[in-house]
């Protein structure tokens, strides 16, 4: 059996700039609106929550944005991340396709999230911020920001959805090991938390509530800012190191993808891998098919409406035009917690509207099946979110087999599943369920979208 191949870049070739797709798009994305005035938000509107350097990145139109040296120095611990040719998987599938994957699970927190957590911590530290407050659901983002906080000597406070806080004690232990403070949300520490607990002391929490608590704390203290792990332009920007490196590594293999596959929740992992390829196509290079994979139980791109909506359920955020299931939509329980968000990052939604990409939705059992097949061939156990990309890539490889085409497939393996083994346990025990969302709830949530003047 031929063995899988690793393409390693020297650390001197960690990208010196992030790639900003806005510079290459035929039309700029629609403006972000203030929910009271319905006018485009300006930097000052966001200043209570983010340092100005990140706000300027949010609206930047420069193609290249310099990665600060201290950020690159920390990236060196695990970057450039490896690109693998999955030859053993190709042989198991008996496909003529070539399958490559870019593996982000080599970061200390185990996913792509530190690419932006480190950057956000740096800019906050530079701006004199002492404390960053955030929310986390599944815990990948919270543990990455906790890591970043420990490296930049920043206090990190994480509002963790109570049901996850109780169900995922090991994610919490990871955040605490990095020195972060982890609070079950709803909590008694904020007005929004107390209001909810007054009505229901046993409230299980939600990402929307946790966002409200984090934003409330950040807005009140001068030395404190807020941070988000996906969705926003600057977060997607920081993740583009993934795709920039992948292009260089594929060049080492003298190859270029026909298809690029990545899973998409808020869109930062997807954009990180795909945007540099979309951009190269827009600048006259080859145009691979770009495929986003999302969960069938939370099908933002494939079933959502492209409309202005709030980023949170409590309606504290500005309005963004995006593919949304409605901020009132609650997706069914799903092991890929990182893909369980009602909206899609505005830039990814904009690319979908421009016809620059495709989207496909899968149920979770088929994704775990693909993840186990991948683990047995390649040795790495993927995170449940990443299993969606694995399923997408395997299906493309099987299509190539059926069509007799030797295409080149690149997919993003965004993280490992070491903290998600309960999901694998449930899968092997036959306890995993493919739960459909409630059609009437979706209709209701979509009908509740904010109306514009």
């Amino acid at each position: 059996m031929s063995d899988s191949i690793k393409y390693v870049l020297d650390e001197s070739r960690i990208p010196k700039t992030w790639y900003n797709i806005i510079a290459d798009l035929p039309a700029p994305p629609p403006a972000v609106l203030h929910p009271c005035t319905m006018q485009p938000v300006g930097p000052d509107d966001l200043a209570p929550l983010f340092p100005m350097s990140l706000i300027l990145q949010e609206v930047s139109t420069d193609r290249e944005v310099e990665i600060p040296t201290p950020v690159r120095e920390i990236y060196r611990q695990w970057r450039p991340s490896p690109l693998f040719r999955a030859r053993r998987l190709e042989q198991v599938l008996d496909t003529p396709a070539k399958i490559y994957y870019k593996y982000e699970g080599v970061s200390p927190a185990g996913s792509h999230k530190p690419n932006t957590a480190i950057a956000q911590a740096f800019y906050n530290k530079e701006a004199g911020v002492k404390r960053i407050v955030t929310e986390t659901g599944a815990g990948q983002w919270g543990s990455s920001l906790a890591l970043a906080g420990s490296l930049f000597d920043l206090q990190i406070e994480i509002y963790m959805v109570r049901v996850s806080y109780n169900q995922k004690p090991y994610r919490r232990a990871l955040m605490e090991t990095y020195g972060a403070r982890c609070v079950a949300s709803p909590s008694n520490e904020t007005n929004s938390g107390r209001a909810i607990l007054a009505k229901n002391p046993d409230h299980p929490g939600s990402l929307g509530i946790a966002i409200s608590e984090a934003v409330e704390v950040a807005a009140q203290a001068d030395d404190t800012k807020y941070a988000l792990g996906s969705v926003l332009n600057h977060v997607l920007l920081h993740q583009t190191v993934i795709g920039v490196e992948a292009i260089e590594q594929l060049a080492m293999a003298d190859d270029y993808p026909d298809v690029v596959v990545a899973c998409a929740g808020g869109g930062s992992n997807f954009a990180g891998l795909a945007f540099p390829f979309i951009g190269a196509g827009l600048r006259g290079g080859p145009k691979p098919r770009i495929v986003a994979i999302e969960p069938a139980s939370c099908p933002t791109l494939t079933r959502g409406k492209y409309a202005y909506d709030f980023g949170d359920t409590a309606h504290l955020t500005p309005l963004m035009k995006m593919h949304t299931l409605g901020s009132a939509f609650t997706p069914p329980g799903l092991h890929a917690g990182g893909l369980r968000y009602h909206g899609m990052g505005a830039l990814v939604s904009h690319c979908a509207e421009l016809g620059l990409m495709e989207a496909r939705a899968y149920h979770q059992i088929a994704c775990f099946e693909a993840g186990v097949q991948f683990a047995r061939a390649e040795g790495i156990v993927p995170a449940p979110e990443s299993n969606h990309a694995v399923r997408g890539a395997i299906d493309e490889a099987l299509r190539c087999k059926a069509e007799g085409k030797a295409e080149t497939i690149l997919f993003g393996l965004s993280g490992h599943g070491h903290f998600d083994m309960q999901a694998y346990t449930d899968y092997f025990a036959g306890k995993l369920v493919d739960q459909a969302y409630d059609e009437s709830e979706l209709a209701m949530a979509l009908s509740g979208l904010p109306s514009l003047p």
Copy 2:
């Protein structure tokens, strides 16, 4: 703050040979004895359990043992493993010492164990073996052999100590994800298991019992062999890729250690890092201090007797001369399950007797304290076993500070703690206990050592 530095070797520089310290020792280690005849065992005695290629490695006196190409090809997935200069930790400790660590947690199973699991699976496959049976306690070894089995298409059957089987469902899920069969021991599948269950249907199991079950199964079937994850010469041999790479990486930094620190349970992680340095010293090179760290609750090297003893509690193995607490000794509960073994590999014991190394014992709370300090400075959460080495290295660095010496310290970070977060949870909750072993039990176990004619 200056940043930590990673030393990366190109994959072409994965060692082509393992290093066999026996070739450089001033005296050969004492022979392994057959418990019935008290005569040295020959290859034929071991043939029912191991393929001949591994038996020949067990007794080899060649300095260099070639690493087969298929093994090197799989090593490439994560090897050469990174060597880091822990500059952030140095600054936190305010020490003039330079601290380097060699990190084996980058393997797909998360520790150094795949270095030998891959090799053992290769030699078994080459010999036509269809199935390998083994035991596992904490689960690091079991999951590594499961990984190796999936890559070489071998059936893997793992007898897992029942109490761990129930307490560590995620380790079990990892083994099953790799396609291995995991059986709670004592089981109804073997005579030795049934005999124990007949007396006590709720028996929690022990490593000794699991070894008995695995050996029984392997000895009965022609297509089945047994595998061990530490202690034996060939296992230690396979781990020497760690130290061979480290010497080359330190040369990139134009450095050489004054002190080498590693944790030691059965000895394979310790030997893997330390033997190439000891060997270089024996061949006329510099002689760094070599320090093994063991748990105070299972202090084989610091409190054991150097004597012939059985490798298992059921007395099915040959007799090896080693530092032992007696095969009847049961160490107290300890989160670093990988260090909870009554004996020490014969080659490590021999080196200790020859005065080529030192040993030191630590209680676990001090080790977790060091592990958390390390995680906050360097970003990686160590396995509980590795925390012992971190403690040892930090204490050496603090000694350097007190003495005003700018020594170079190298330590082995044998694995990450992703599957051991319960231990960190207990540590933060103040539930971790430093349990001393029972002095009268130790005296009893030592008095029961086999007497030689």
